[in-house]
């Protein structure tokens, strides 16, 4: 039975990166289609008419949407290869909780850092560091959020590591000095090929943000 997988995505999207990491961890082959979000393809509009967003994973012609949902889907279908979610209900619920925390807090607050200035930016930066510290506390002494191995929360959060440089330069602060344990965790994740192959060069992400700001008319 042919397993046709197409991923509609963009190189810089932390949400798309989650899916790529999950697929690569499990050694699953997929076709990657880079979308131009200023000129969305017919395929994207057909596969995600409601949100018109990436990532979309098309499995044998059927679309799966929303990065967290896609990663869970991949984990369930290819459950015997490098499982990402714990098998017991309580740790599973905890993993989902922390992935949801990352989803609710990291991107939006991070975005405020590079789209605002002055007091607004300062408070966004403080809020952002607060969330990273909360994550550090949850990580504790474990090598990964998933315990001994990369898990669902690691895959959900690590893409933002490629955006850290952009946040730091924009907000004029250091994540390393505020959250050394989290940086150590990030570097540990980068030792995995699934992660290092997926995450873009942080300098390129920063350039992208500068161009995006110009396009959005933000100073």
């Amino acid at each position: 039975m042919a397993n046709e997988l197409i991923l509609l995505d963009t190189w810089v999207s932390p949400f798309g990166m989650r899916v790529r990491i999950a697929l690569r961890e499990k050694g699953i082959k997929f076709e990657y289609k880079e979308e131009d979000l200023t000129n969305k393809s017919d395929l994207l509009l057909k596969m995600n008419p409601i949100h018109k967003k990436i990532p979309v994973l098309i499995h044998n012609g059927k679309p799966v949407r929303e990065s967290g949902i896609i990663v869970q889907y991949v984990d369930e279908v290819w459950h015997d290869k490098a499982p990402l979610l714990p098998s017991e209900p309580y740790p599973r619920a905890q993993a989902r909780f922390w992935a949801d925390f990352v989803d609710k807090k990291i991107y939006d607050t991070g975005r405020k850092i590079w789209t605002t200035k002055g007091d607004e930016q300062k408070s966004a930066t403080e809020e952002f560091i607060g969330y990273l510290k909360t994550l550090e506390a949850e990580l504790g002494d474990k090598p990964y959020f998933g315990g001994e191995k990369l898990g669902y929360v690691d895959v959900t959060m690590i893409p933002f590591y490629s955006w850290f440089h952009a946040y730091e330069v924009s907000g004029n602060f250091s994540i390393e000095s505020n959250c050394p344990k989290l940086m150590a965790w990030a570097k540990r994740c980068m030792q995995h090929e699934s992660v290092s192959k997926t995450l873009p060069d942080p300098k390129k992400v920063y350039e992208f943000i500068l161009q995006l700001k110009k396009r959005l008319g933000i100073e």
């Binding site: 499995h59 949407r65 929303e66 949902i69 869970q72 889907y73 209900p89 599973r92 619920a93």
Partner: protein, 233 residues
Amino acid sequence: MASNNGDVKLIGAWASPYVMRPRIALNVKSVEYEFLQEQFGSKSELLLKSNPVHKKIPVLLHNGKPICESSIIVEYIDEVWSSGPSILPSDPYDRAVARFWAAYLDEKWFPNVRAAPMAATEEAKNAAVEQLKEGLALLEGAYGEISKGEDFFGGEKIGFLDIAFGSMLGWLRAVQVILGGVKLLDEEKTPDLCKWAGKFSADPAVKDVLPETEKLLEFSKILMAKMKPASSS
């Protein structure tokens, strides 16, 4: 009569649709639980201790261990009490679809249910109402595809998406009244959803949980009084 389910408590409030979700799920599984209701306007020590990150209800306490976020709690209930009727679909793709729509309801649709009556201008109110109607049209289509001719999104029995969406019916009905009889669920435009809503509300796991519209209307007056500024213009 020892319970094999362990100690099950739910921190919540009767009017919250997010709290209704785990209550319905526990009923589906015939699991008895202690319902610890928060006082409106304040947060208990237990809530703050059990959900320090978000400080929100619902929180399920199972043998003292907290589980937070309504959809996560429902999935947990389904996985722990796996011998009871299934709540999530068994097929991974169907699960992804159910989760997609539940997320859509939470992120895009329900915020408009709350926003419409509180809208500052007529324009804003109409925009919120339009969004709600568009969303319901999408859900009408989704129901057709997902239910495959059965009564519920979950098939013959209520499932994850029925619970996620159905928990909002109380407020949807109340908001229709508050907005002066606006038809959001409409027999002409969303006939299937109207039928589904009736069946869902009558389901044994649901009927004691979904509050009556009258009760919600009374409560909404208290809510709106709290939210509006003290001086009137």
